[in-house]
């Protein structure tokens, strides 16, 4: 992989150029003491040293609410698909979120490729940035998601006065040549990048005491653990954990019509297994009607089901769920560590 250097004073012009180019640039901005991805109006808003964002960048590829089809009602209804995709630059995406997008790529392209996701994805450029100030609930190193080797067009690492830029694709390279002032990275600078990454590893506060490959087996043994009931007792079924998660991709589908009752649309919106009615069926049945089974299902998805189905981790260790959960029960790390303990 080729590596370049952008001096810090050249970063602002680079971002400005991107903003002024035709694509929309999305980046992390400050929000009430936290960070959130949002459209950048000017470089000054961009915060590349953030810990984590409230919502994951997946929202730009798989929007919280998205129209799937439009229709006209009446005797002879007409239907047409709606696929919206515009060029987009996701700037400052952390490696764990990149890994999560890689999972979405697989999930939305396997068996029945989803044109709505994939068209957006195709038009998106991902400019990553290494996470050097991890969120206190994150446990990326344990899952191998603290850094990423693939899944980006460019990857930045802050090494003090400058950024090392790893080039991940020709698209990335073109952007760089067109819009940024760069130079070749020296060996010293590359070594510096390594040491920054190393130092960052030491800043993670949560560790998973089991390797991710072993998680499916561990979970196989843990179905009847008392942990599920004990811990889920406090669950508010508030869905915060699933909404903030970069790897969750379940959705609900509903129809809406305009006020003239003549035309309408079918849209999907984020949904998730922690919400009470997620598995409810007609006639009053609910296949996961209690907190315990919903809580367990989510953890199994994170540690086993997704892995077995798509060959990728269902959790990237970003810690957003743990930060969002008021009941303090949502962290997969805590659950997996505890089950590991139990299994001894």
């Amino acid at each position: 992989m080729e590596n370049k250097i952008i001096e810090k004073q050249n970063m602002a012009p680079f971002v400005d150029n991107l903003i002024n180019a035709e694509a929309e640039v999305i980046g992390p901005k400050r929000k009430d003491g936290k960070y959130a991805f949002d459209k950048l109006i000017e470089t000054g808003e961009l915060c590349l040293d953030y810990d984590t964002t409230l919502l994951p960048p997946k929202m730009y590829l798989f929007p919280p609410k998205e129209t799937l089809i439009k229709f006209e009602l009446g005797k002879e209804p007409e239907v047409e698909p709606v696929v919206e995709a515009k060029p987009l630059i996701l700037f400052g995406v952390h490696p764990y979120d990149i890994k999560a997008i890689e999972l979405l790529d697989v999930a939305f392209s396997t068996t029945n490729p989803d044109i709505n996701y994939l068209s957006k994805r195709e038009k998106a450029v991902i400019i990553g940035v290494d996470c050097l100030n991890p969120n206190p609930n994150a446990f990326c190193p344990s899952l191998g998601t603290a850094t990423a080797e693939t899944g980006f067009d460019l990857m930045l690492t802050d090494i003090g006065d400058s950024y090392v830029v790893a080039i991940g694709s020709s698209k990335g390279e073109q952007l760089l040549t067109k819009y940024a002032e760069t130079r070749e990275a020296s060996q010293v600078e590359l070594a510096q990048r390594n040491s920054e990454r190393q130092k960052a590893l030491a800043r993670y506060k949560v560790t998973l005491n089991i390797s991710p490959e072993e998680l499916p087996q561990l979970l196989d043994k843990s179905w009847d653990s008392p942990w599920w009931k004990e811990k889920s007792e406090k669950c508010l079924s508030c869905g915060s954990c699933i909404v903030v998660c970069p790897t969750c991709f379940c959705f609900d589908v509903q129809d809406d019509v305009t006020l003239n009752l003549k035309e309408g649309e079918r849209y999907r919106q984020w949904d998730g297994c922690m919400l009470v009615d997620f598995a409810a069926v007609a006639g009053g049945g609910n296949f996961r009607g209690d907190k315990e089974s919903r809580f367990r299902h989510r953890m199994y998805r994170k540690g086993k089901y997704i892995w077995e189905r798509y060959g990728k981790l269902g959790c990237v260790g970003c810690g957003r769920c743990a930060s969002a959960c008021l009941a303090e029960i949502a962290s997969p790390a805590e659950t997996f560590n505890r089950l590991k303990e139990e299994s001894k």
Binding site: L55, S237, D277
Partner: protein, 245 residues
């Protein structure tokens, strides 16, 4: 044939009816396929022939009970409009004092001329088909419910907490700002409008079907509220649930 809609108000601030009048352009659209036959706040003529009755306000006097029953008899569908009708709303704050004392505080010597009973939601008197929650109602949700009813479908009202919409709105959680919130037990549908505007959720939409109130109380206590504070918070809009338990 155009569907006939009627609006009625009992004890409340009439803010929900006002929200309906606030439809501006949508109101004009809507009038193409409904007839509003009864809307005292906005129109003089009235008719006793309607299919869908929207009822605002809670019941706080004996004399309101037969009126409400008559509406129920007449209407095919009764929709409770707003927190007062759905939950009893802020009016129930008076239920925590003897009615005599309320009367004395407000009317002094003249108290003997007035009648008042503990405030209650309309569902405590007649069966209610659908609820448009909120104090005041959310205009979009009102439209959603109305459209669904016109199409003959059951409106999809969320049965998950406000936190879902709050997170989707990209808000920083009020608990993270050192304050507290009733969002985790309150039914969504408002798009977390209060939190998005820098406040917290006061529970005006009532609880979800199966709220984890114990967990919420523990969380509130952990964030510095006393048991009394917590009761006060719940009572602001949901006092009726407490009393009727």
């Amino acid at each position: 044939m155009k569907a006939k809609l009627a609006f009625f108000d009992f004890t409340g601030c009439e803010g929900c009816q006002l929200e309906v009048l606030n439809f501006e352009t949508e109101l004009v659209e809507l009038l193409n396929h409904v007839d509003i036959v009864n809307f005292r706040e906005a129109k003089t003529e009235s008719e006793d022939n309607y299919e869908i009755a929207f009822v605002e306000g809670s019941i706080t006097r004996e004399s309101e009970i037969p009126k409400l029953k008559k509406i129920r008899q007449q209407a095919k569908i009764v929709v409770a409009l707003g927190a007062c009708a759905c939950l009893g709303g802020v009016n129930c704050l008076k239920n925590f004092r003897p009615m005599k004392e309320n009367l004395r505080i407000v009317y002094g010597d003249a108290a003997k001329y007035y009648d008042t009973i503990p405030a209650r939601p309309i569902s405590s008197i007649v069966p209610v088909d659908y609820y448009v929650h909120g104090c005041p109602i959310d205009k979009k949700e009102f439209l959603k419910v109305t459209k669904a009813l016109l199409l003959g479908k059951r409106p999809e009202i969320p049965n998950y907490p406000v936190c879902v919409e709050c997170k989707l709105a990209g808000n920083v959680c009020t608990f993270d700002k050192g304050e507290t919130c009733l969002g985790p037990v309150t039914r969504a549908g408002c798009n977390a409008i209060c939190i998005s505007n820098g406040r917290h959720c006061w529970g005006c939409r009532g609880p979800v079907d199966d709220p984890n109130t114990n967990s919420e109380k523990e969380i509130l206590q952990k964030h510095g509220l006393t048991v009394e504070d917590i009761l006060n918070q719940f009572r602001i809009f949901n006092g009726y649930l407490e009393v009727s338990k």
